[in-house]
Amino acid sequence: MSDTKATGPQTTDAPTPDDGPHSAASLRGTDETDARGGLVTADGKSLKSSLNRALRMQKMRALMLIAPLLVFVLVTFIAPIASMLFRSVENEIVANTLPLTTERLQDWDGTTGDIPDEGVFQGLFFDLFLAAEAKEHTKLGTRLNYEQTGVSSLFRQSGRRLDDMGEVYQDPLEDLDEAWEEGATWYELMSGTGAKDTALVANQRQRYNLLTSSSDSGDIGFAPSSAISEMLPLTARAYTAFATFTVYADEDVVAEEDPWEAVYAALALDLMTPGTAEKVAAYSGPRADLLQAAAGLDFPPADFTAGFADIDEDWAAHETWQTIQTYSPKYTNGYFLNSVDLKKTADGFEARPENERIYITLFQRTMFMSMVITCSCILLAYPVAWILANLPARTANLLMILVLLPFWTSLLVRTSAWKVMLQQQGVINDVLVWLGLVADDARLVMINNQLGTIIAMTHILLPFMILPMYSVMQTINPSYLRAAKSLGATNWTAFWRVYFPQSVPGIGAGSILVFILSIGYYITPEIVGGTKGVFISNRIAYHISSSLNWGLAAALGTILFAVVLILYWAYDKIVGIDNVKLG
């Protein structure tokens, strides 16, 4: 209240300190002024805040009244749409499944034509091993197969053969000492003594949760000792990953389970790292003897690059790695580029080959055909609405039932009926042949093309045009027409200059309804559209239910949504949304 005087929001009706507390108090009875001159209520609070509170209460009450509907709309409409649209940019699966690989790939220069170095392949081995155990690698294969043909089976096959790559290191260790076969040996060795590396456990837990989209947080009953973790970093990480998975996914006890081949491979890699042998020699924790013996082993050289190339030559292909690198980030514009016939590349984007371009054509066709359908609806609906509006109420109601009848019939039935009508051996062609208008061997093709879609959809959407037109025309006063004619206008002038302008709001409302509905139609075009009469929505439906490329479907849907909003905005600018009337 202190700045009331300065900003003066209440100056018009609230008393200022100049007209004095007396008048205010006498006028309002119970009101009093506070120390700084503002009005207060009986309970000592300032009038302004009381008023605000009362208003707020009122708004809250109004909000409470609409709350059920609001929550319903938010939960069942806005939220699903928003989450679906979000899929058009979301791409976390690559980084979540291959965290090490994508991190190391960042430094790889994909433009040189070389494949990445050994470190990336090593990361890939450990990433893929865990992913294959969790059966998540095939999901990533499916995801990347949308971008590059063949990745799907590349991941599926590689997942099966990773064990072989690890066994190369497992066998020498187990030949050396049978103790290496025991889960308990490993558990004792890795647990060690002294301080524990809990950071690594937390890190692997987070990785597991990201990989499997779960939220496990319980204790896994294992943590590597800091000494081990520092001396054998790869082994500690691989064993912790194994321990995390054993506890969370298999619900087993770590010490009782034999580690994965990947853990043996990690140990071999650690022992081959220069400098580790000395550290191992100096180590004195549990099972140090085993470790020291293993350090003297002669492991086969680490060559994961060759190992992966052996599984499938596509791993040695530059293109595979470029795809993985291009789609490493957690968010991608790749789906949007795909939906306008472009292709994401390492440095920007390029046009798709001519024989794969389809979406721009479909968008254009959807727009064009929706306009044609809207126009034919206007042409057909206008006379019908005019007759309905000018007939006596009883007859009009009867005719109205005919307009509404299609609403009560299943969409599929109506569309299939058109099939019976329009096909070459159908009713219309039969009648034309019988009348001799068309030769029997030259029957008209009216279905499985654009004409079929236009006819069927015009029929199906016609009520959406007639109804708003009818309700607007009903309100047009017939005496205007009579006045125009009495002033000497011809029938046409009276209609065109007097009646038609008044019916425009009905046309506007009907057109918006029909156009927006037809843009999103897919059942009717699918049944009667053949190949040239299908819409973009048919491709969206295909990607949702058949190819499962939901990201692309979401991107296409987002674009369609944006186009509708832009057209609506343009309509508002040109015709004015105030000119739209539903009655």
């Binding site: 197969n145 043909t149 096909q423 051996q425 499985n448 239910s545």
Partner: protein, 373 residues
Amino acid sequence: MKLNKILLASSALTVAGGLAFAASHAEMADSMTLVSWGGAYQSSQVKAYSEPYMEMHPEVSVSWDESSNEAVAKLRAMNEAGNVTWDLVDVVASDAIRLCDEGLAMEIDPDEDLAAAPDGTSAEDDFGDLLVSDCFIPQIVYSTTFGYRTDMVPEGVEPPSDICSVFDLETYPGKRSLEKRPINNMEWALLCDGVAKDDVYDVLETDEGQQQALDKLATIKDDVVWWSAGADTPQLLADGEVFMGSTYNGRLFSVIEEQDQPVAMMWDAQVFDLDGWIIPAGLPEDRLARVKDFLKFATDTQRLADQAKYISYGPARASSAPLVGKHAELGIEMGPHMPTDPANATNTFLYNYEWWADYRDDIDAKFQAWLAQ
């Protein structure tokens, strides 16, 4: 669209039997939701599998959901929402492979989860090569093949018996109906463009090979009606809209034998495909126990053979083949109508699942772009 048919057993026996059973199978859920394709196929499953099962287990109620054609998308959505309401889902093999890849279907152990053949052959050997995925339990072998109108064959010309007559507009003028997807059509086109059967997929892997197939299809493009639902071709044939068309062999059987239309089969280069069950991943234990119990029963040798009484699809077990008898209503021998019958299977293809899993997205984009031209 979703039509749930709840089948409930009744009578006093229910109570008695139910109580006795509840004691021994306390851990099993007493209701199941099975998902299938609807129509004649689903009713053959009801008659061959679920009705006999419910007679043995009167306390169990089975409801059917006709959602198989969108099962993959729906299962994925259910899984994301964390609420899988289906217990057993009937899907084609390629969908089963994808569901398995996505972790949406449970892996099964054939020898443990499925019944052995009466002669003691293990389930794994009995199903043999048809176990194309770790999650998939095949029920039937069906084929996508051609049927043609016998009354539209031009005079003085042999009825078509060769796949390439589809591409021969001169000898066999008239419209054809083909499925609105590249699978099968690309293979047939290459076969009739001089590519040897064994080389088809090698050729199709290259851009030139794909173009070659599309070019071959282009020669008949103006005379093709493209279908997307299995019922389309039977309707088009029955109305005389097309001369020949591809569809599932069971649909043609019903046009020919049940509806008595002047249509005949052309088995040449039929493409075998499989249909079977998957168990959704992550079922609670009691529901899983019930489903496994049902599955063991419903995929045994006799049950698979029984299904062939109602529909002309071949049982997936080798041991079921000799048990296939007559149609339950028409009384005709079903053997000669099976796609696997030696007389029909002289020249066949087996849907190459792995190959199409890789190339599907790429070729489909090209195919759709070609269609839209």
